[in-house]
Symmetry: C2
Subunit: 250 residues, 2 copies
């Protein structure tokens, strides 16, 4: 039997996965944050990333459907509220649709998920199924990409505000709120994983789950870059620039 | 209630999906068949396409696991035999590994599926799950991309033989055999779909299933093109040229 790594070493192993594989290293993000994206490319990102947002509460419900412990379900439930909203909080999905409007997309078109890239669907659906099918420990570990999210959200807010006319407090509200919400989720998730991964095998499974999740995120940006950044190859059936606009361009 | 289309019109609708969306229109195939691929790109294709081959018998077993009619199971069973082999027939997976050896890849490396692109995995796994989760009619309809395969196999055999030193009867045996096997499968599948899609709603579901399957195939080539054709962006963890070679290059 291998000994499990210490808590600190195991946490360092998980953080290294982010250093090496998190999608903030993908060239599309450099393009977006530096102002190098055309408005068509920004719209393509908003349309495709919406599909990911829209599936997150389904992923969290799939997780909760398998949790027998009411305390764990209660702790997890706020994730669904953060995305779907409550009486006091409009929720992340609604905020994302405000971003869609700000970039001149019809929010009904975006919410229909028509035109989403097949590569985006396959990656996101793989994540929902992973959480539905794997152990609870692997499911929680796969959520730990939130460890690496505050940096990308901060860069994105600064980059969008600096470089694009559409960016203001309203259109970047999604990211502003995630900066507030994500830290409590990830603190809980990280502690839960460190507590429960008490063998070397379980630690390996957690590292594999987090690696899988970085693939889910990276693969979405690959599909986006391949379809909409020169030399662009838009797959059959995917969104074509000009579709789903909020108002006719002048 | 809408009336269903006639048998001939419905078949024409299915064939149009192939005309518009089958992956023979993807630029990677033009590159491969015209001799424009480097050996690294041919190797990347062989490694990634192996993942698809390796999951086809699992997909067919998932289908058979839901079929109550012994006659339909018997008709379907030959698909698994064609890929996994019998006493008399080595099977498609083994033939694909002969192709791997011919392009100087270690067949054990290829069979390990290490280095397969995440985009390939997500697309192929989506297909296996589609066949496991959807109606039997949609599952059979999704197999009808075989209608369009003979043309691409013929072009591939001719293109590989004309342009690449590794290509001969041994290394192209997979495609030669598919030309013999696929027509009987697809004749059965097409007749079954035409017989069973007896409402407009079922015909729509079949068209959507076949469209989904063209997305599965196209998305694999998008991932491959994006990773390995200039400007190449190899995702973290994916195969790097030089890995998994059968023998050291001179």
């Amino acid at each position: 039997m291998r000994e499990p790594a210490s808590r600190a070493d195991f946490e360092a192993r998980l953080r290294r996965i982010g250093d090496e594989r998190y999608h903030d290293k993908h060239p599309f993000h450099g393009l977006l944050h530096s102002g190098g994206c055309t408005m068509d490319q920004v719209q393509a990102w908003v349309i495709n990333r919406y599909y990911y947002q829209s599936r997150i509460p389904m992923k969290d419900a799939a997780f909760m459907s398998r949790v027998e412990d009411p305390a764990l379900r209660r702790a997890w439930r706020s994730r669904i509220e953060d995305h779907d909203g409550t009486a006091e909080n409009e929720g992340g999905i609604s905020r994302w649709l405000r971003l869609a409007e700000a970039v001149n997309l019809d929010p009904e078109y975006v919410a229909s998920t028509r035109g989403v890239l097949a590569g985006t669907r396959f990656a996101v659906d793989a994540y929902v199924r992973f959480v539905r099918d794997k152990t609870l420990l692997e499911a929680v570990a796969s959520s730990l990409t939130e460890l690496f999210a505050p940096k990308i959200h901060s860069e994105r807010i600064a980059g969008l505000l600096a470089h694009y006319d559409f960016a203001d407090d309203n259109s970047t509200a999604y990211f502003q709120n995630r900066l507030k919400e994500a830290p409590k989720d990830v603190a809980f998730g990280l502690a839960w994983v460190l507590d429960h991964a008490d063998t070397a095998e379980k630690q390996d499974a957690c590292a594999a789950a987090l690696t899988f999740k970085t693939d889910v995120l990276w693969s979405q940006l690959d599909a986006l870059h391949s379809a909409y950044v020169a030399p662009a190859r838009i797959p059959p059936g995917a969104w074509q620039p000009g579709e789903g606009q909020l108002e006719k361009a002048a």
